[in-house]
């Protein structure tokens, strides 16, 4: 079986794209912690439920960014092919 240099680069790009999505672990943990703390806060102070939910969602949306950077890197590796 012949593997040309081009194919090798594409294969390595696909592996790199998969590795880039490991970045999804961090935001997952962080969002989970935020949601847990939000649930605890609602348990202590049910009257402030809407404020807590808004703050939690805002923080989670910002915390998501690092995972999305991983997604962007993976998409660039897969579809833009900067090394091909």
């Amino acid at each position: 079986m012949n593997i040309s240099g081009q194919d090798f680069i594409y294969g390595c790009s696909a592996i790199g794209a998969g590795l880039a999505l490991i970045a999804g672990i961090g935001p997952g943990v962080g969002q989970g912690i935020a949601a847990g703390q939000g649930a605890a806060a609602v348990g202590r102070n049910p009257g402030a439920k809407s404020d807590i939910t808004t703050t939690m969602l805002l923080g989670q949306a910002v915390a998501e960014t690092t995972g999305l950077y991983g997604l962007v890197v993976a998409i660039i590796l897969m579809f833009v092919k900067p090394f091909g």
Partner: protein
Amino acid sequence: MGMMKIPMIAREPDFMIHGVLKYHAFGQELWISDTTVGAWIITALLLLFGFIASRKLKTVSESDTPGLFQSGLEIAMEALENMAKGTMGANGRRFVNYIGTIFLFILLCNLSGLLGLRAPTADFGVTFLLGLFTFCIVNYQGIKNRGFGHVTSLFQPIPLLFPINLIGEIANPISISLRLFANLLSGVIIMGLWYGMMPWFAKIAIPAALHAYCDLFSGAIQTYVFCMLTMVYINDKME
């Protein structure tokens, strides 16, 4: 995506930007893509709505009780002003026009996936431009309010930290634009994969839930986050 070549090979699950019309300018080959067309449609809708709404508001006399349309608009405007005032305090009133404009534009762009358009904000060219607007306003306000202190604040607390402060300033527009872009792009990819790869019976009711999450929920939250962060960045430079 801005970095991609526009005319893509048509794949089965389709989530790429497509060129609509090719033209030449300044010796370069440029494309009018479906991002541009979507942005035009949304701008036209907003202009039309603004025109009709302002005409309708003028015809209401003072003795009349405001109708449903006017009441709704006033409630929405008040919510917007409260959002600006909650984040920026007394400065909020000056920026509520700008914030309201980008809020409506980004919101309609994010929701345009429901109309079958490819969301214009799922193109880095659009979101980076919005981030650059924020960057320009932030730095204009910094120079206007602090003068030379805007530059020297980069050397705080010790001059050694200048490179880090500089990177931190430059990273702001890139970070807020990439956040919006990547969220919308992930929604577009998920919808494209679902519509392109699932058998026909999976396309009946299930996409409604996906649209509700990817377009409505994610789109609304990211619009709010973008406007909120813009206001926070501007407010940082106001005092």
